[in-house]
């Protein structure tokens, strides 16, 4: 479903991604971990071309883009339709209700009739447990609720792939569970997902593969139980110790 080859990203003189490869099967979930500044968020943003990669290629579904040449707006727009993004800070539209947030993409971009989009949005919000909050504005919702609206908004686009950029990092600890539960449900329903997160328990339970990034490279990859319990690289071990000691788990 996803196939990334030799992806590079440069900001001026700074090379943030130094040749990343990734393959995700249909219905697979890949969790990307790594210290801040490792390039993991940039990598995720490249998959959606929120950052334009400097070189390499990304294939999602049946569309491939090669970044060795500049892309037209049309090409970017067409490629973006394959995936949907969930942001660390939710990035909900504050001037729209939960329902309007979820309807916005289908109605404005995909030209779905309003009535149909509304029914779908209601169903999606109900699915993420917000059937009672359809007409609330984002400021009236808790962080966890806002993030679930963010997930519903992304799902409304019928993406082939869901990209999660640290979806629980901005949440109070007691709200993390409700968001992870929604993501687990999605994974078990067969959604293809790439998740940047520090939630090791989520990674253990859901991920088919864990990728550890540092300094713009993939340092280690494998099944979660292998990467977490017997990492082959010293840097992975050090990172795991660090986050376990600071009790991020």
């Amino acid at each position: 479903m996803i196939s990334v080859r030799n992806l590079h990203k440069r900001f001026g003189d700074l090379e943030v991604l130094k040749g990343i490869d990734l393959d995700v099967q249909q219905g697979g979930t890949v969790v990307v971990i790594g210290p801040s500044g490792s390039g993991k968020t940039t990598f995720l943003r490249c998959l959606n071309i929120l950052e334009a990669p400097s070189a390499g290629s990304v294939k999602i579904g049946d569309q491939t883009v090669d970044f060795s040449r500049p892309l037209s707006k049309r090409e970017i727009a067409s490629f973006r339709k394959q995936s949907a993004m969930v942001f660390q800070h939710y990035n909900l539209f504050p001037h729209m209700t939960a329902l309007e947030n979820v309807m916005e993409g289908p109605v404005t971009v995909q030209k779905v009739p309003k009535q149909k989009a509304r029914e779908r949005a209601e169903a999606l919000l109900t699915k993420v447990g917000l059937g009672e909050k359809l007409h609330e504005y984002p400021f009236q919702l808790s962080g966890g609720q806002q993030q679930r609206v963010g997930i519903a908004r992304a799902l409304a686009l019928d993406p082939k792939v869901m990209l999660f950029d640290e979806p629980t990092s901005a949440l109070d600890p007691e709200l993390v569970g409700e968001v992870l539960q929604v993501m687990k449900d999605l994974a078990s329903e067969g959604m293809t997902m790439v998740v940047v997160t520090h939630e090791m328990r989520f990674a253990r339970e859901v991920a088919d593969e864990v990728i550890f990034m540092d300094g713009g490279h993939v340092i280690e990859r494998g099944k979660p139980e292998d990467v977490f319990t017997r990492p082959s690289q010293e840097r992975t071990q050090r990172f795991l110790n660090l986050i376990q000691n600071t009790d991020v788990l």
């Binding site: 929120l50 727009a77 949907a84 990035n91 539209f93 001037h95 504005y137 992304a154």
Partner: protein
């Protein structure tokens, strides 16, 4: 001066003039001051949005044109701009009637000042809003129309109200290019009756009332926009 308080005939004359001048002044407000303000503000606001977009666009020539326009308008007095339009352009055989000349002058003026307000408001919207719009597949114009400008509008209400209220008062300058708006009528009656203080105070009070009403509208607009932010 004392006669004003001691001479009953003088007081009666003043009341007479105040009463008889009220209708022509209000007529000036309704026929000229208000239309001039509304039309110029509408054109000016459209021009301001375009100018702000040009300023934040990545197209260099657009940026430069917008910068020169804003700099020229902000760097020259409004009265000079109006005089160029009305008394200057006929030299080039471009003759514009007083009212359209005033509309052009005020629109250009509002466009320049308000463009800075709108530019700041657009830039104040977090980058994540553009990104979220991008990822749900919106084009630049869809993002602007649906996501960015509605939020920028909320931020713009107080400073744009300033611009609007200034415009109401600035329309008095149109009197100098022969638009028979309210202040020009006050001048004419004052010249005829020699009651300068009375007529100019009357004009001042009418402007004040207009602006007071506008500030009430501003308050209502702010409340409307604030429904989606926590207070």
């Amino acid at each position: 001066m004392s006669s004003l308080f001691t001479d009953p005939e003088r007081a009666e004359r003043l009341i007479d003039i105040a009463q008889s001048s009220l209708l022509p002044l209000l007529e000036g407000v309704i026929l000229y001051t208000i239309p001039l303000t509304l039309i110029s503000f509408a054109f000016g606001l459209a021009l301001a949005v375009l100018t702000a977009l040009a300023r934040i666009s990545t197209v260099k020539p657009l940026q430069i044109i917008a910068r020169i326009y804003v700099s020229a308008i902000r760097g020259t007095p409004l009265i000079v701009q109006l005089f160029i339009l009305f008394y200057g352009l006929p030299t080039l055989e471009i003759e514009i009637d007083p009212f359209p000349a005033a509309v052009i002058g005020f629109s250009l003026n509002v466009g320049a000042y308000a463009s800075e307000v709108i530019r700041a408001a657009i830039l104040s919207i977090p980058k994540g809003q553009w990104e979220a719009a991008d990822t749900i597949g919106m084009s630049y114009s869809q993002s602007l129309k649906r996501i960015i400008l509605p939020q920028a509008a909320r931020v713009s209400v107080p400073p744009l109200s300033n611009t609007f209220i200034s415009l109401v008062k600035d329309t008095s300058l149109a009197s100098l290019i022969l638009v028979t708006e309210m202040f020009r009528r006050a001048q004419e009656i004052a010249a005829r009756t020699y009651e300068f203080l009375l007529l100019y105070m009357e004009a001042a009070v009418i402007y004040w009332i207009l602006c007071f009403l506008l500030s009430l509208v501003q308050g209502r607009l702010e409340n409307r926009f604030d429904r989606y932010v926590s207070r």
